[in-house]
């Protein structure tokens, strides 16, 4: 429950304060968003499965964001930016879908 409140708080603060994203970080914002969505759904599924652990949640979210940003950065340097980003988005997207399906099964099905 408290984490959910934290999420809402973060969103509200983000819209209210509207901090400007620094120029250098702007290319990484989209990938960070996808990683964030993946982490949220992953955490939610873990809660429903009964396996939630705070430390694992935080560590996995941070490391996913860092790895995704590294891949974007590396891709830009190597000239394969769009391709690597696509790969990251595809994998994270599959995870999002799979976690969402599991959540759906918990809430509506078995």
């Amino acid at each position: 429950m408290i984490p959910v409140l934290g999420l809402i708080l973060g969103v509200v603060v983000g819209f209210a304060v509207s901090p400007a994203v620094p120029e250098e970080l702007q290319p990484y914002l989209p990938i960070a968003i996808v990683a964030a969505l993946d982490a949220v759904l992953g955490g939610l599924r873990a809660v429903l499965d009964g396996f939630f652990d705070d430390k694992v949640f935080v560590v996995s979210f941070l490391s996913n964001v860092v790895v995704a940003a590294l891949m974007v950065f590396l891709g830009d340097k190597l000239g394969v930016g769009p391709q690597l980003s696509t790969g990251v988005v595809v994998v994270l997207g599959i995870r999002i879908f799979s976690n969402a399906a599991a959540i759906r099964r918990h809430l509506l099905g078995a």
Partner: protein, 300 residues
């Protein structure tokens, strides 16, 4: 394929399961520890919310700034149009002053036959070249495109309906109309505020019609000075209006013709001299022949 299998199977991070097992196997961690972990989670989740909000902000700001840029451009364009209009008015004013001075120099109580003839010639040529405003009976034709729903669509190419591209009134249609009016005996024609001369061009840029490089917007107003009945007949039933009538019947273009007193603006004198010749004895005194020759060299 096994890569995809892995991705799907691992969607619930295995660390969650392992950590849960570890927790079950050991004593309850201290409540301080638990509080700390919980706090970390809340902070991380708040960070996620922040990132999502930032993304939303960035997306909406992007759309907004594109609209702003367009608005700024439009404002700048309008401002420059006004500036150009102002300069043109200034030009006209100076030309009028020059004409006055010329007339004054050629008139006066001591004027000669040559001066009289020159003055008359200037008047005749100016009228024929459409350089001066002219007033007389004639007709006004207003041409309107077929109506469309959204004003923003005006500059987009019209969509194809039933495989036939719906056409707007274009430069060729106005050209045909104007040529027809002249052929029917019009003595002066203006499209919008622009008087047509022997050097006028009606062209199009994209979907916009330009007269002498000046844009005109629909509804197009064409004014012509001449015998009203003849001109009206030429448009409604004769050759001048043939293209327009076809557009009316097939594309939904509408037009109407009104008779009345027309005041056509002058096109101003031409800036570039194309023909100049030595005028013999200088009419204006105190000019030596040498300076007239250099004037001839310049005015080519």
């Amino acid at each position: 394929m096994s890569l995809l299998d892995e991705v799907v199977a691992d969607s619930l991070d295995p660390s969650f399961v392992a950590a849960a097992r570890r927790r079950a196997a050991q004593d309850n961690p201290s409540s301080v520890r638990r509080r700390l972990s919980r706090l970390l989670t809340v902070v991380a989740v708040a960070g996620i919310g922040l990132v999502l909000a930032l993304g939303g902000n960035a997306a909406s700001a992007g759309a907004l700034s594109a609209g702003e840029v367009r608005e700024d451009l439009i404002t700048e364009i309008e401002r420059q149009f006004l500036a150009v209009d102002e300069l043109r008015r200034h030009n006209e004013q100076i030309r009028a002053e020059l004409a006055e001075l010329r007339r004054a120099a050629l008139s006066g109580p001591a004027r000669t036959e040559d001066q009289n003839e020159l003055l008359a010639r200037i008047d005749r040529l100016e009228a024929a070249a459409a350089a001066v405003p002219v007033e007389g009976r004639g007709i006004t034709i207003e041409v309107r495109d077929a109506p469309f729903e959204d004003e923003a669509d005006f500059l987009e190419p019209r969509p194809e309906e039933d495989d036939v591209e719906v056409r707007r009134v274009g430069d060729r249609d106005l050209q045909a109309l104007v040529n027809g009016l002249f052929a029917a005996g019009a003595e002066g024609v203006a499209v919008g505020d622009y008087r047509l001369t022997s050097l006028s061009a009606i062209r199009s840029a994209g979907e916009a019609v330009l007269v002498d490089y000046q844009p005109v917007l629909p509804p197009y107003t064409i004014s012509a000075i001449g015998e009203p009945a003849t001109l009206e007949e030429a448009v409604m039933r004769g050759e001048a209006g043939e293209g327009l009538r076809v557009l009316r019947d097939t594309e939904g273009v509408t037009f109407d013709v009104r008779r009345g007193l027309q005041r056509l603006p002058g096109a101003g004198s031409f800036d570039a001299l194309r023909y100049a010749s030595y005028a013999g004895e200088p009419i204006l005194s105190s000019r030596r022949p040498e300076s007239s020759e250099s004037a001839r060299g310049r005015g080519q």
